[in-house]
Symmetry: C2
């Protein structure tokens, strides 16, 4: 508390949503919601508070300790503000494993917290659409989820040249690291992280890091990573049955997506995705905007996550799509809608004695489902009109003694200045069309 009173700032790294920001948030989440539901995905939800142990086994203690909001409650329970939704949805599915008919299509738009230094596009709190398909252990499941991700991008007005869908398969990469290069677990993890950074590093520096991590095996790996397309990549690999299944899955996936009209798909052997829990395909939606080429969001298959709850594993594939990133992309491309006040009409009183008439008119309009804001501030008419305009209310109606007597009302559209005279009986019908 300063001398001047309490601070008016929100907590560091989180956002206040004034109505114009909230409208954008609503547009983004409504578009996500509508598209997910078009695919038959059902919405679920949960609390932002979760027992901390949920994040321990899987992500490694580092994430729980360093990057989350974790605290002890008054009952000595350790709790965490969820940093991602996948552990929660896995917990919920595990609890109802036997009662939910498969396949399960679920989505949610939770807020997530990360404890990190706020920066552009990386806040401490963001919202994230999560879509997951459970109980389909086939490439067709992978294809559906990628199609859904792509359909949401298209629903926002983005075209297939605006983004590329990069795909890879953990099975292929695991084969290369463990079976082909025969790297042990810790070196395998290290090289995975290096591979993931290839695009961001200068060529020489990347090579140096690879060599320093895996020594003389570097050439085999570099040749694979530098392959220009899937078939060239395959040509550098040995013959192996397990590998062959994974390679065939990749071909089937790309073909299936093409059949569904998704052609902006690219195999990318450097795509790893952060989480340890992925077991099959991984994918990433990549922004091709020349000014800001970057990964927007992604997902993949995680078939083993339920086993952490002591229940039978269940195949699963899904993705998460953040609101901050999407707002940024849509803003850059001019794809966000203009703010509109929820009210169509501002009723403005020229004299206070018009109140009963204005109230009754307002009541009737609302009963007919016309959204009305009635100005009861008692300010001057001119100021009331200015306020309506600034708030983005499209139509105004000034009520004075003449209007009360005659029932003839003059509706004015503020954007065009067009005035329409109409009897009070017909006012609802005017706004219904």
């Amino acid at each position: 508390m300063t001398d001047k009173g309490l601070s008016m700032e929100p907590y560091k790294g989180v956002r206040d949503f004034y109505p114009e920001d909230m409208a954008i948030f609503r547009y983004i989440t409504d578009t996500m919601r509508q598209t997910a539901e078009l695919f038959g995905y059902e919405e679920y939800g949960a609390s932002v508070l979760e027992p901390s142990e949920l994040y321990r086994g899987k992500s490694g203690d580092e994430i729980v300790n360093e990057q989350t909001y974790t605290f002890i409650d008054r009952g000595e329970r350790e709790v965490t503000l969820r940093p991602e939704m996948t552990p929660t949805v896995s917990r919920m599915i595990a609890a109802m494993r036997r009662n939910l008919p498969m396949p399960i299509r679920w989505y949610s738009i939770p807020n997530l917290f990360r404890y990190e230094q706020p920066q552009r596009g990386r806040l401490r709190e963001h919202w994230q659409l999560n879509c997951d398909l459970f109980g389909v252990n086939s490439v067709e499941g992978d294809a559906e989820v990628i199609l859904l991700a792509s359909s949401i991008m298209r629903a926002f007005g983005l075209t297939e040249t605006d983004f590329v869908i990069r795909v890879n398969n953990r099975k292929i990469m695991n084969f290369i690291i463990s079976d082909y290069l025969k790297l042990d677990d810790s070196i395998g993890k290290k090289i995975s992280r290096i591979i993931d950074k290839k695009e961001k590093l200068p060529v020489a520096e990347f090579k140096k890091m690879v060599t320093s991590a895996i020594g003389e095996k570097d050439e085999i790996l570099l040749t694979l990573l530098e392959s220009k397309n899937f078939e060239e990549f395959v040509s550098h690999l040995p013959k192996n049955e397990t590998l062959n299944i994974a390679l065939q899955e990749m071909r089937t996936l790309i073909e299936s997506l093409e059949n569904k009209g998704v052609r902006n798909v690219q195999f990318d052997q450097t795509l790893m995705r952060g989480f340890d829990y992925y077991t099959g395909i991984v994918f990433e939606i990549f922004d091709t905007n020349p000014k800001n080429r970057r990964a927007l969001f992604g997902g993949g298959r995680y078939d083993n996550l339920l086993s952490a709850f002591g229940v039978e594993p269940l195949s699963a594939v899904g993705f998460g799509m953040g609101d901050v990133t999407m707002r940024d992309v849509l803003e850059t491309r001019g794809l966000l809608p203009k703010y509109k006040n929820p009210a169509y009409l501002a009723i403005i009183m020229a004299e206070q004695q018009c109140l009963p008439y204005a109230s009754e008119l307002t009541r009737k309009l609302r009963a007919d489902n016309v959204a009305v804001s009635m100005d009861i501030s008692g300010k001057k008419v001119g100021d009331q009109i200015k306020a309506a305009d600034k708030k983005g209310i499209p139509f105004i109606l000034v009520i004075g003694d003449d209007e009360v007597k005659s029932g003839n009302l003059k509706i004015k559209e503020l954007a065009t200045g067009v005035e329409t005279v109409i009897s009070d009986e017909k006012l609802s019908a005017f706004f219904k069309k």
Copy 2:
């Protein structure tokens, strides 16, 4: 973590929302949202994390320390999971005091946290519609907000005999306590809390508590509290100009609400409402269900809250309406809708070779905005139909070789068993009507 794996329970006192619960939550919040927007209220939002100091000055340290989730972040900042929305909305309005055209009509549906023992209707986390009107310092503002609260109840299908709106005015009660009975501040606070409990206590016990708190002045107060209606109550009060204004406000409010069609209003001199910050009218929506008479939610006028931020005060009136309470009321009265899957149609494949046809059909339907769930589980047809039924998908379509060849499709409505044969070209039109 148990031997069997991680716990599948959510954190104590919070809820998991499986799709059927989420659909109810959505129904409740959508109804709130639509009604608020019909009145021209604009949606805003903020993070659940707030600096703890926001709750200190106003509610007294007790609330921050005992009843909230408060912790220290890694940057030594004290943060709280918001227990109510009014301090947040006041903070946001204060920050933009000069840029927002008055009057301001805002609503939000935030989640709120309280640290207390979970019990029926009182969880550690709930969601609450908050509607506030700023910049209208008149009874007409009070009336609008109460009308909005009443309209939301009506939008849920509740009638005016299902609930009563109890109203009181802090100015009247302050006059009685400070000016008429001349009680000092601490006794005044104590007696306010006792008055608030009148309805819940046996008559004798209540009288004893009043006498023990204020001694020989008890009779004056008890006479006032036992008055059967507003005019009887007024007849026991002394003549005083300030009091008179407050009494006149009460008459105007009840009259204004009656003119707006709200007749289930009752003056209730025992209604105090918990928060210290109220400065004028207070009100409460009271459930008249004989099996469960109780206060559902309420609100009031708070004209001084912005001064805590060192800016000019601003008149404000609003209310909060919780989702747990409303769900309970609507459930008891059978007013909740039946669950519906977002998909209208489940496409079921009899043979896997029908996949390309089924995919293309699905794509076309979705392009026409028909929500479709395609079963790609590879299970037996009978099991796929059972799963669709259990998920609440109203229509099914089984695709086999015959359908692929002929393009004649048999749509079955599961609830009625009615089958319709239709060509694949006309399928979208069938669902559009």
